[in-house]
Amino acid sequence: MATDDLATQLAPRAGANILAVEPFQGLTARVRFRPEGALDVFRAVHDDLGYDHLSMVGAIDWVDHREVFYIVWSDVTKQYLGLSADLTGDAPHIESATPVWPSANWHEREAWELVGVAFDHHPDMRHLLMPDDYAFHPLLRSFKLHEPEELEVKSRSV
């Protein structure tokens, strides 16, 4: 029921980019969308549905592809909504959500440095938690915890 309503509300501005609206444990629903139309979907969710608060952005390495997910909150419905996009290819990338939700800034920096997903047109893409010259993406499945990589970390420039 709720998922149908969401799909109808999203249709005018982002209908072509929505792949599915599915029920999700702990959330109102999860909207799966095409990464190419990310900004349209963000705008529709923010302006038309009223989800004005971005709670988090995360990425998952599924080995054959990567997934980016967003959790947004609306003060009107008092509900969380999930958004998710599958990124394929050797250099997975998606449009940054910062023009719509400024709070995406640090979340996207973290998702890039840990999972290696690039966010196009991000205003301030730098390392956040890892050292500036850290060359790995530690949350990739290929990064094994028990086989430490050889690395030499220079001190941070200040």
């Binding site: 444990q25 702990g26 004005d52 998952i60 008092k78 709070s103 800034n105 979340h107 949350l139 200040v158």
Partner: protein, 378 residues
């Protein structure tokens, strides 16, 4: 000129660096630099059993360990389709609120000390110890508790606990009056805090700021009320709120929250007195650490197939909205965990509540944000 305030600086409680660009005494730009305490909790979780991650959660935020356990446990139970018994839910609510008291008192002690007032620090630490004693009496730990379990909590509270807890609550209510007299009655305190670090409601929402910072800007948003989890829909309390959006407003919000927490704890104690029952769900598989699996049934329990799924949970932690996202692809370890730390987001907005103030204003402003580096870096 860029000045590094940190990683070792009396203003930074924990290991992080606030880079400040100053023009004379005026702050013209800030760039918080975090990561000094990054332990890779999300990565380590990939190799751990569901119950072993609870240990990491305690270390995620070292002043609100049990609240973070609740965040993770909520998502893990969703992902594994397990429900905790009612009594365990009430115990979790009691723990959350006791933790909120301990965390806010710790904040009070550190914040007021940043302003140069030493005696409130000692009063705060004295009163927080009483709550840690309570925790110790039923979890065995004072800082890292490992009390929650997937499917409930580890053990019940000992006999006589509720009476002891009530005494502490009565004691604390009297102390809050003293706290206020020490701070709000002090001309020096007011002049150092009023009108500083203002972050209005619209900006708060855009920047994702939550918790006491958001409520101090006049937005009465509290997950315990808006989206009740555990048994928060069965306890009575008011959402603390202030309008000035400055450092003093955040102080007022946290003080009122402590009073409301005492109110909630008292209600949970009354309920716990009259409703004995199990605190851990039955029929948990052996790998979830079920201590009383009936003999001969282990094989069945091991083979029992848990449905796959992804769990999401959000909890109003002392610092704001904490969330966990746990991906379960079947098996004993989660495939991926992701944690949303409220302080991480509140700190990322630093540019918006620091620029335009003076260097001497940094300790009160940063103190009012209540930064816990453990959960910023995770």
């Amino acid at each position: 000129m860029w000045v590094n305030m940190g990683p070792q600086h009396p203003m930074t409680h924990g290991l992080w660096n606030l880079r400040v660009k100053i023009d004379g005494e005026l702050i013209v730009d800030v760039d918080p630099e975090v990561g000094y305490l990054h332990r890779g909790i999300e990565k380590i979780s990939e190799d751990r059993h569901y119950n072993e991650i609870i240990t990491l959660m305690d270390r995620c935020c070292y002043v609100a360990g049990i609240a973070w356990e609740h965040v993770y446990i909520g998502a893990a139970e969703n992902a594994l389709h397990i429900t905790a018994p009612e009594r365990a839910q009430w115990l979790r609510v009691m723990c959350d609120e006791l933790q909120r008291l301990a965390s806010h008192i710790m904040w009070y002690a550190a914040f007021v000390q940043d302003l140069g007032l030493m005696s409130p620090f000692l009063y705060g630490m004295r009163d927080r110890d009483l709550i840690l004693d309570l925790f110790q009496s039923f979890t065995g730990g004072r800082l890292t508790y490992e009390y929650n379990r997937v499917g409930g909590v580890r053990n019940d509270v000992p006999s006589g606990f509720t009476d002891r807890c009530r005494k502490v609550m009565d004691w604390l209510m009297d102390r809050f009056v003293e706290y206020d007299r020490l701070c709000l009655g002090s001309e020096i305190f007011r002049r150092r805090c009023d009108g500083l670090g203002v972050l209005k409601a619209k900006e708060c929402v855009d920047l994702g700021v939550t918790g006491p910072m958001l409520r101090s800007a006049g937005v009465a948003r509290d997950l315990r009320k808006d989206r009740p989890y555990a048994v928060y829909d069965r306890v009575e309390f008011d959402v603390a709120k202030a309008d000035a959006a400055d450092v003093t407003a955040r102080y007022l919000v946290r003080m009122e929250e402590m009073r409301q927490s005492v109110r909630i704890v008292r209600q949970t104690l009354d309920w716990l007195d009259h409703h004995p029952g199990p605190v851990l769900a039955d029929h948990l598989p052996r790998w979830l650490g079920a201590p009383y699996a009936p003999m001969g049934n282990e094989g069945y329990l091991l083979k029992r197939n848990f449905p796959r799924g992804t769990g999401f949970a959000a909890v109003e932690e002392p610092h704001g909205e904490a969330q966990a996202y746990v991906v379960n692809t079947g098996g004993e370890h989660p495939y991926r965990t992701k944690f949303r730390s409220p302080v991480f987001v509140n700190l990322s907005a630093a540019k918006h509540y620091m620029i335009g103030y003076r260097v001497a204003d940094i300790p009160p402003i940063m103190g009012s944000v209540d930064i816990c580096v453990g959960e910023v870096d995770r």
